[in-house]
Every structure is written in C-alpha cells, then in structure tokens.
Subunit: 338 residues, 2 copies
C-alpha cells in the first residue's frame, strides 16, 4: 500500500511528560512491534514512562537518521498540552515530520502549523483519513486476506493481527499487517482509521487498504468493533465486506460480563462464528474461521490453559492466547486448509 | 425532532433550467408529499419541468410567506452551474434561506457565501450533516418505530415510508416520517443523511434521529442501502441498530437481475427477512416483519397483482405495491400484532 500518506521512517518516539507506561501505550506498541524503526525516545521533565531506547533530542535523532517524530503518549484531556508545543515545533525545525493519533489535529495549534510551513514538513493526523475513498465495489481481488474479528471491542484484535504477521513472517510467509486504527497506523506507518471514514465509504476504504496482491501474499487486517456491538457493528460489517477475508480469527476476552461501554450481553462464540461466516460469504464465499484468539491476561496460567483446551474441544478450532503462546496453531490451520 | 438544523417552511421550489421532470425529481418529491409547504416554483429560461405550482420569483414568494428556497433540480455534473448563481443570490437578497441536496456545498460559491452573510440567511447542505453525534448507546427508548429495509438500494424505501406515514395519519395514528437521505430531508424539512455521517457514529445518528416519544407514537424511518449490498451494508446495519425498530417492511424490486451498480446477486426474500430479524434483535428483541412493499412499476397491472398474491402465499405477509394500492394491509398487520 505505498501511498503519499505513508509516514516516513525511522521514528523518534515522543513520550511527553507521560506519568506512567500506560499513558505511553502507543509508543510501547511501536517499540514492541517495530523496534527496528525507532532510533530513540524523547522525554520531557517529569516523564515516568520509558521504552529503553536511546534518549535523543530532535537534532541528535535526525543525525541518527530519524525522519518523523511520533507522539507516543496520550494526554488525559485528549488534547495537545501547552507543555508539549515547544518540543513539537523543535522537531519540525530540525527537519522531522510529526505524526499524531490524537483527536485534535496538529495544525490546529498555530505554532505547529507555522513551524510545519516554514520547514516544509508534513503533519500526519492518523485518526483523520487524509484522502477520500470510493464506495466498495464488492469485486474479488488477487492475494489472500485474514481479518481479526471480535466478540467485543478491545479484546486483542490488533495484537492478534500483529502476532500473526510476526509468526507468519517467521515461517517465511509473505505477510503484511494492515492497520485500521490509529495505534496500528503508527505501528505500521500506513493504514486508514476505518471508523473515521464517511459511512458511505467504509467498505471502499477497506478495499483500498488491502489492494490486489500476489497469490501467495497474506494481508493480515486489523479488525474493529464487533458485529454484536450496538455502537460499532456497522463499521465492523463494512470492514468485513471490504476486506473480503479468506480467513478470520475470532478474538475474545473470556472474563468480560457485558460488552464494553454498553449494557449488551457478550455474544455466544458459536453464534459469532456463524454470523461472521454468513455475512462474510457475501463478498468471499470461501471465508473460513481458522481459530480463536483468547485474551487470558486476567487468568492465572493453569486456568488460562484449561480454558483454551476446553474451547478447542467445544469449537474444534485452534484456541490460543497470542501473548502467552504465539499464534502457531492458527497458522498451522490456515496453511492446512488454504 | 425540533432542531436548529430544521429547514424553515414554506418553500419556494427552484427548478433551474431542468431539461425534464426527471432532472427535477427532488422538487417533484417535495411537491408530491408536502404540497402544503410549497408556495410556488421558480424556473429559469429553458426549464422544461413543472410542478403545476404558481410561478413566483423570490420577492413574490416571500410576499406569499416563503422562508426557504429549495434547489429541487439536479445538474448533470452534480455541481451548481454558473447559470443558477444569480437566482440563488437573488433568493438570499430577498430574505430566503437556501437548501440544497447536492454534493457541492453552497458556501463554496463565493457569491452565495457573501449573499448569505450580508443577509444573515442560512445555507442548508442536507447531504452534509450540520452537527456531530454520539456513538450509539444501544439503550431502548419509548415510542414505536418502523424501519423500511431493502433487498437492494433504490427499491422504494423512501416512498414506502412516506406512504406509510400518509396512510397511518389517514387513520388517525400519530406517525412521523424520519428522513435519512437528502431528498427525504428536503421533503421532511429535517433529518440526517446517514451515509454522510462519520462511520463511528452511524447508529448514534440513528438514535438521535428518532428520539424517545409517547408510547402510541410511530416513527416511520426511511431505510438506506441493503444488508446484502457490498458497498453499503455497514450503513444499513448501523441504521438498523440505532433505529431499534419494532417493525420493518422489506422493500423489493422484482425485475432486477443483480444488485444496483455491483455484480452481486439479488438476495432471497426469506433470507433477507431472517437476517434482518437476527441482526435487529440485538437492539430490539421484539422486532417483526409486517409486510413486503414491492415496486412493480416495470410490470403490467395483472402481472403485478398476481405476483403480489403469489408472494403473500409464499411469505404469509401482506405484500403490496404502495404506489398502486397504498399500504393498508401492512398497517392492518402492524396494528394487529402491536
């Protein structure tokens, strides 16, 4: 997906004054999954997060090859605080582009807009699509695709997709992670925030995100939302139709009692698989489920593994926690049936 | 849904230089369904469409009570042609607001923006939502709702909803049409172009469109797209989840061979009803199908009526063409089961 909106690498990761590692979750995601693209971290006084990368200011980062400074921390209000502005303009003045996953657009801050203009630098607001899309065509395209789906939001769809990319590449398979959310885009350096697209173009944007490819190439597409979530199911269905996946992995968090932020019940796993197959068949009749990725972080090791064995028996599918054990059994299934 | 984005009535309908009645389809829709809100038509030289309304210029229309001039014609390029600009600014200078369902925004034309500013008039671009929405809550709300669904796009969902409103009101039922597309909004004077909303907010916009209401009130919500259309199913599902309909009418065009603008097959009617029920139950467990509205315009009278009888036998539901026969049997079923 080479595109004019691609973020230039490598990165300097800006942690601001993040008060803990959770506030620097985006930077951690990038450093965890794309360490080879990170030349250093830039922290302000009071920052208590760290990525164990070299401490570099913008000048030293440029000397080390950096092209873009990525805002890898969130501010509680979701806005860019005044205390960051000097560092952000400093990056632009040293020749770095800026990339942000925040709601507020970088150019809304006059000093940043001015610094970008005087240095001819680019400002990437990855939460806001920088281009327009066509409506979905529904036409099949070459190459293979896997989409991570969820029983709910925030169950590990991005993590599972990244783990699948890593593990497939580890076996020599030509696989690319395709990002559909802001953190995923900053990790991959490209993608589209699918829930920020105009509704008419959801499936068209998903088609654009994963273009025709060689027959043995796999795009591993980051899922969004859930077909069972009353706030976001439209996004999920448009993404499913546009992605036209040959295979999907269902992601699940077994300890949750209701769907995230709403009163709706957690759907039954078999119902989920059945509905995804039924809806996915509309644009790819060969769609199949190749496994369940279970987020067992809330369970002790033995309980996690006995749950996974139980689920394997119940659904006759590889059931793994990608964090604990990697995605090997799912890839085995994917290759077996392909 | 009183809202600051409501379009002030009555209207002067602007037909421009429409070369035939099809090019003035929007104006015809407004004059057909809301004649009581139309004080006149304003036609430019060469116009060959007519609504049989008084011919009025903006000054005379204002004297007759008009508040808004609605652009009721389309220009082949989808843009506002230079030849219309004088008439549009003339309307603003005479104290009318302007409303447009075109893609181009009225304020993009400098003369129109200037005339609106100097007269303190409002420009309604109904294809572009003028406000932001929350994500859908999925919470039930009071009042009753019917949504028109389709086996495809452009099968008569808007017409069916308007006919249901008319026929229900004719029986003394408290019913309001709720518009989700630009022509519907211009007819109703309010609504939201649901396919132009940011994807994250589709179901939230649908919840906003049809707020809590008295128990015996029916909102008749205009459907969009089709759950089986690979371009637009995400919009359709978000609208279904946000509308939380108690009842739906399936709209169908029986002579079509493939879905509109794509190669996908026309879905089976029973499959459609089953899938709508399954997905709709997520936000309204009591959802039911109360009939099928069949667009038989392409069939002669006897073939149309024998098809409708055949379908009634097959699906055990009222099957009507709302244009030929009105929606009576569907309303009977709605009231019977309510």
């Amino acid at each position: 997906m080479p595109d004019e909106t691609d973020i230039q690498r490598p990165y300097l990761l800006f942690l601001g004054d993040a008060h803990d590692d959770l506030a620097a979750k985006t930077a951690h995601g990038i450093a965890d999954w794309r360490r080879e693209h990170c030349v250093g971290q830039y922290r302000l006084p009071g920052c208590r997060a760290t990525l164990d990368l070299p401490e570099l200011g913008p000048g030293a980062a440029v000397a080390a090859g950096a092209r873009t400074m990525v805002i890898g921390a969130v501010n509680p209000g979701g806005q860019i605080p005044d205390s960051w502005i000097y560092a952000l303009t400093e990056a632009l003045d040293n020749g770095l582009d800026l990339a942000s996953g925040m709601h507020a657009r970088l150019e809304e801050i006059p000093q940043i807009a001015a610094a970008a203009a005087r240095n001819g630098r680019r400002l990437h607001n990855v939460r806001h699509p920088a281009r327009s899309f066509s409506t979905g065509s529904g036409l099949p395209r070459t190459g293979k695709r896997l989409l991570t789906m969820g029983t709910d939001c925030s169950v590990g769809k991005k993590y599972t997709a990244l783990a699948l990319e890593r593990d497939m590449r580890g076996r020599g398979i030509d696989a690319d992670f395709r990002a559909t959310g802001q953190t995923g885009i900053l990790i991959a350096g490209a993608g589209v925030a699918i829930d920020a697209v105009i509704a008419d173009f959801i499936s068209g944007a998903a088609e654009w995100l994963s273009p025709p490819a060689p027959d043995d190439h796999w795009d591993i597409i980051e899922g969004q939302g859930s077909l069972f979530h009353p706030s976001f199911a439209g996004v999920t269905l448009g993404l499913l139709h546009g992605a036209q996946p040959d295979a999907f992995v269902l992601c699940h968090e077994p300890t949750r009692k209701t769907l995230r932020n709403v009163a709706a019940p957690i759907p039954d796993i078999a119902d989920c698989i059945d509905l995804i197959l039924r809806l996915g068949q509309m644009t790819n009749p060969a769609i199949r489920c190749v496994g369940i990725a279970v987020n067992t972080v809330a369970l002790p090791d033995d309980a996690a593994h006995s749950l996974l064995r139980e689920m394997e028996n119940a659904y006759q599918l590889p059931c793994i926690d990608p964090v604990r054990d990697g995605t090997g059994p799912i890839i085995d299934r994917l290759l077996q049936e392909a």
